[in-house]
């Protein structure tokens, strides 16, 4: 083995494994945030490798808005069974029912999932939550640490972050405080797909091109389903689409695409002129600082 045969994907994988192991070694009660989206799938794959042949020494945690793509929930449940994992679900519909949060007039559960996330962290006494967020996704995330400190209200203070040098991560917290950890910080969307391809990882079918009833809203293609119906003047059309990101089904848009294999997705990702969140996420379109503001409140 020579130094040159170690590719950039191998380097990113090695870095992520190191970070995941630091979390388990330093923290008392870590959890892995798992949505069934491609980034959390890659993170889970890496976490399983980091501790093999032992079982994953932490539970998965899913904040379920109730607005799900069925293919993604199926995938989640299959993975949990396959690797004999523990799954903790923070349910937004349950939280609405017991009056913990109130449904917003526009029907979006993007903001109200944050208190549910924080409540689930608190109830389970998690002191670290690992997520698959990447710095290339969004400009506020480009400034966030790998080990990102949250105070006892779950808040991120971007102006008061812990310096992070070399590969030394400071996970020390007081009771009630916690750390969000992003082992895939240095990955790009293309790295994720290259990794999925090279390691032969299965992803939910909605990432591959398929036919779907969609309608055009604010420049995005939204699926017509039980959560989201066209308004006046919006026409349902049958189109070949795929999803670049998977989030709340009321907010996540599809892209027109014929890419029905991972190879074709990689070719398309390399050539695209739009960022994945810009192309598909209604939640980031609120303002220039939408992500920063949500993160300060405790969002992922």
């Amino acid at each position: 083995m020579t130094a040159t045969s170690f590719s950039q994907l191998d380097a990113l994988e090695a870095e992520a494994i190191h970070i995941v192991r630091e979390v388990v070694a330093q923290m008392e009660r870590p959890a892995l945030l798992f949505s069934g989206g491609k980034d959390s799938i890659v993170l889970l794959h890496i976490a399983l490798k980091a501790f093999a042949p032992a079982r994953l020494p932490m539970p998965l945690m899913h904040v379920d808005t109730g607005h799900n793509f069925p293919e993604v929930i199926d995938y989640r449940d299959r993975v949990v069974e396959q690797y004999d994992l523990n799954l903790v679900v923070g349910s937004v519909p349950d939280a609405i029912e017991r009056g913990f949060v109130r449904e917003e007039p526009n029907g979006s559960r993007n903001r109200i999932q944050t208190p549910v996330l924080l409540d689930t962290i608190e109830k389970n006494k998690f002191d670290a939550c690992m997520g698959g967020a990447r710095r290339d996704e969004e400009k506020a995330r480009a400034k966030e640490r790998v080990f990102s400190f949250r105070d006892d209200f779950g808040q991120w203070d971007p102006r008061n972050q812990r310096p992070e040098l070399w590969s030394l991560y400071n996970g020390r917290v007081h009771q009630g405080e916690s750390i969000r950890v992003f082992p895939l910080s240095n990955w790009t969307e293309l790295d994720i797909w290259d990794y999925i391809n090279s390691r032969g990882i299965e992803v939910p079918s909605i990432y591959m091109a398929h036919e779907r009833d969609v309608f055009h809203r604010d420049g995005m293609w939204m699926a017509a389903n039980e959560f989201c119906q066209p308004r006046e003047g919006e026409m349902i059309e049958r189109r070949t689409v795929r999803y670049r990101t998977v989030g709340d089904a009321t907010l996540t848009a599809a892209v027109l695409s014929d890419a029905d294999t991972v190879d074709k997705i990689i070719a398309e990702t390399a050539a695209t002129r739009l960022t994945e969140r810009g192309a598909t996420r209604g939640d980031d379109r609120v303002s220039e600082a939408a992500m920063e503001d949500r993160k300060k409140e405790g969002y992922f």
Partner: protein, 415 residues
Amino acid sequence: MDLLRFATAGSVDDGKSTLIGRLLYDSKSIFEDQLDAVEAASKARGTEYTDLALLTDGLRAEREQGITIDVAYRYFATPKRKFIIADTPGHQQYTRNMVTGASTADLAIILVDARKGMTEQSRRHATLSSLLRVPHIVLAVNKMDLVGWSEERFNEIYAEFTEFAAKLDVPDLTAIPMSALLGDNVVDRSVNMPWYGGGSLMHHLEHVHIASDRNLQDVRFPVQYVIRPMRNELHDYRGFAGQVASGIIKVGDEVMALPSGMTSRVAAIDGPGGPLEAAQPPMSVTLRLEDEIDVSRGDVICRVGNHPEPTQDVDATICWMDSDALTVGRKLGILHTTRMARAMVKDIAYELDVNTLHREKDVTELGLNAIGRVKLRVTTPLLLDDYADNRTTGSFILIDEATNRTVGAGVVREH
């Protein structure tokens, strides 16, 4: 395809944002929606041109004040390499951010305005890059269009830089005359400076040889975590998980675990893709040994004839990163590789003026962003190497035990 991490430091005036914007734009790493957002924001602010700094200044406070506060990480790739840019602000009050960016960099770009020549800021960048042992330095002499593409001016600045750098340890220096605004020598070679015989910045970034920067001589494997599956069929499995800091570890090698000093042989190396015959930095692997010896997190596995001496006395250069000053007698947490211990400050030998390299010996404390030489006494023996030999086992961070904040970064010096 391999990975190159590089750091840039400077302020808007030096053309740093323009340079990064051009590297990203010309490698097609800026997306249309990002550009649209930046154009709209520039217009809303009444700026006449598209301000590419808005692309990297991700925080509300940064956009409001028009300054870069924190390290931003940017990503781009060419068919030859993937690049990670640590984009750091250049002002003195952000020394800690520069140190952060430099700590993981393979290469640092020091931007100099051709009209101004070396400034206090460029001297600081050079000093910090040298202190953090960034293996490759690029002196980017920017705004050459504003000095008439003058070879003489370029040579003057190069001489000025090398005179200052003679006092530092700069292993590999490349000077490139450029105009980030017009694109000369950024991605394509300049037609305006036929006297310059070297390649463009992008060509250099794509081709600079980094494979031999890794220390492949001294085996150091800090143990992160002990894997014990606790299942019947894997009852005897004990794996020592970690990332190879340096050296090449092979199956069958005789190794020693420190601090216990017990020896064994490597029975197997488990990598993320399956069993391996050998492991080298920066691979994350799991080692299994032939004998059951006592090894736990914080210990280091190394070769029998080549190992660090455990010590409780640490002599180091510190960058202090907190507004609450470092003083003699202060107690702190210290994280070195995977070992956490407590340290007490025994002495502050001097504070380094990063602009003049003067060593001020008569100091009683190190304030925010100060750099100085200190002596620490540690509760548990640490397995240190000189930072010059090993960036992983020669570095540590200091943690305030009351607030848990990371307050200092240190590099171990033997001389």
